[in-house]
């Protein structure tokens, strides 16, 4: 299952659900936010999109957890990759689409690297 490039066309609401992310290189995702704050909309929508069955199906071992707090902290998406790399996205000033695209591009880059590595091993 590869080559899932979502069509990034136009700038309307339902677009976020069309962005497909391949979660294979991801170990875990923690979405942290304070629901009573007013800057959490994009982070919460990101959480909703990540939980979509198509994206979840790309890696059943990837744990997605929501960390709901009430301490005024910033909304945050903490992605831990299988190779030890970490991506932290501060959702207060990012849109859902920007976060999904950033995650997708990193996942695709890692997938590519993996493929190149496996091609080198078995010519």
């Amino acid at each position: 299952m590869r080559g899932l490039l979502g069509a990034v066309v136009g700038v309307r609401k339902k677009m976020a659900s069309k962005i497909s992310v391949v979660l294979r290189p991801v170990k875990s995702i923690v979405v942290r936010f304070c629901p009573f704050e007013s800057n959490v909309e994009s982070t919460r929508k990101f959480l909703g999109c990540i939980n979509h069955k198509k994206i979840q199906a790309t890696n059943r071992n990837c744990e997605v957890t929501a960390d709901v707090r009430h301490d005024g902290s910033e909304p945050l998406v903490d992605v831990m990759f299988a190779d030890g790399e970490r991506l932290i996205m501060k959702g207060a000033n990012l849109t859902t689409i920007e976060m999904l695209t950033a995650l997708r591009s990193r996942c695709n880059a890692k997938e590519l690297k993996e493929e190149q590595k496996s091609k080198k091993k078995s010519p």
């Binding site: 629901p35 704050e37 959480l47 909703g48 979509h52 997605v64 709901v68 707090r69």
Partner: protein
Amino acid sequence: QDDGYVRLLRRQVEEVFRDNRMIAVCQYNSMPDEDVVLMRHYLRKHNIEVKFVLNEIVRPVLSQSKYKNLLPLFVARNILLVSPETKAKEMLRVLKGVPQINLLGACIDDTILSRQGVENFAKLPSLEASQGQTAGALALLPSQTSSLLQRGSVHLMALLDQHIRRLQAGETGSPAEPAPAQSLGAH
């Protein structure tokens, strides 16, 4: 511009807030239908109903009611878990098995609580147990008063008893000891 259906939905939301003691707001992330049905079933056992709500309907209703502070919760997709009782512990137990539903906050007995607040509320003992504990604590001090008041005369009685016993022992042969008289004099 309000058509009848929108008015009906708004009235339903008002009723929900009026007729229930516990209203929990949760984020709904897409779940398979069977899981939704199962979750509804387990919550129904504790008299908790699951209601899917639209933000466009709920927001105007809340902004004109005393639940204004719940407004920030209503973005993205939400569901309400409502109940005329306040079985927070059972609700949390069911939700633990459903990772796609995230509890954001609740309004219990007209008090707005965060997620942590709900967890603390669930840990409280029942009302009867708290009342019993309070009554016990209040009754503790007066129960000590009577024994405190009696302590002096009880001690005196014990000493007199001992004195009598020793005098009787003295009559039957062993020498009488002046010690009891001295300790009596000390009081």
